[in-house]
């Protein structure tokens, strides 16, 4: 059944080469945990991506209930977490996944560093990876404010004070991020916009670049 549907589409659009290009490639022995168990360290990049996909999905679903407004934000989070079926699970995925993305990304970075995979000809991919790292940190920072509880409020205050300590430009950066002179209504909407529209868009573009480059250049050789 599935096969005949696939064949029907394939006859007309010739889709096989498209997914072959994406999926059909040799996994070298030195990155295959079935050959050398220690090669599991090569999984961290893929795991980061896997969790990123979960983050995007769970985030999309959370916005069905969440409102970025200082009066209702906390109440809406409490509602979706306590009153909606699987609310605790879906928010749990987003909450724990956020930390896990950072952990996996860090492990991936360590693997790339210690296998020397950042060296020529892969320097550009290292740079793109670093940009992804900063975007992820930005996502973590902006997402942290959204529940609008005491912890997120003061964490954001601290972060903005850190931004404020940048020489010369500090106060401008702080006010720009804050959207005003206090951490308040405008900060929340601003962080929400950055968290769900701007940074994810940048992230997806960077990820595409990251993946195109790894496919072009292949995985770095064994140590």
């Amino acid at each position: 059944m599935l096969k005949s549907v696939y064949n029907w589409v394939d006859e007309r659009l010739d889709i096989t080469p498209i997914w072959r290009d994406v999926a059909d490639h040799e996994v070298p022995e030195h990155v295959n945990p079935a050959h050398h168990f220690s090669a599991f360290v090569y999984c961290f990049g893929g795991l980061t991506f896997f969790i990123t996909v979960i983050q995007i999905l769970s985030g999309m679903f959370l916005t069905m209930y969440y409102v970025p407004d200082i009066i209702n934000a906390y109440a809406s989070v409490e509602f979706l977490q306590t009153k909606v079926a699987f609310g605790q699970i879906v928010r749990g995925m987003h909450h724990w996944g956020a930390s896990l993305v950072i952990v996996m990304m860090f492990l991936h970075t360590l693997r790339v560093f210690f296998t020397g995979s950042y060296k020529a000809p892969r320097e550009m991919n290292w740079v793109v990876g670093m940009l992804i790292f900063f975007v992820m940190i930005g996502l973590g920072l902006t997402g942290y404010l959204l529940p609008w509880d005491n912890k997120s409020y003061f964490a954001t205050k601290v972060t903005l004070e850190i931004a404020n300590s940048v020489p010369v430009l500090g106060p401008i950066i702080k006010e720009l991020l804050q959207g005003g002179t206090i951490v308040g209504a405008q900060t929340l909407t601003r962080f929400f916009a950055i968290h769900v529209f701007f940074l994810p868009a940048v992230l997806l573009i960077l990820l595409v670049g990251h993946f195109i480059m790894i496919r072009r250049q292949g995985i770095s050789g064994p140590l």
């Binding site: 679903f61 069905m64 209930y65 699987f86 995925m93």
Partner: protein, 181 residues
Amino acid sequence: MSNQHDQHESSHRPPNRRKEMSRRQFLTYTLGGATAYMAGGVVLPMLRFAVDPVLHKKTEGNFVKVVEVSKITDEPQEFSFELHQQDGWYASTASLTAWIRKDESGKIYALSPICKHLGCTVGWNNDKGFPNEYHCPCHGAQYTKDGKNLAVAPKPLDEYKVKIDKDWVYLGDIVPNTRAK
């Protein structure tokens, strides 16, 4: 399957190979199954989360005290009352109106002023061109005293559930019209 069968057919079929699963197929099923399981584990909670409003049990609305029985006349009169409603995390009071009268046999009934055409608000005798009718200003729907649809609207006006207690009229949920024939 049965060996007997195989022996009969063995002359023109490769022996024993017939029902065996190829290694490729086994791996395809195993990996596909594992992937589907993981994807399901991720996506199903989110889908349940999203469809939750549809699956919530509808609670029976409370009756709200609206007006003394003595104030109800044969002529429909508009009364407003406030309904406390909890919409997700947001609690509010909705202001509702009802057109209440008693019929020839003295039975009190209350019509909802929400037009059954496209949801505007109708009024009794609100248009000189349509005396003694409910009329909707949006597209000219007309209804009788009982709420029966005369023009434009496809259905009669809805009714409120009515309860009389200690000389007060209480109104409850909106239900389909029971009077219009």
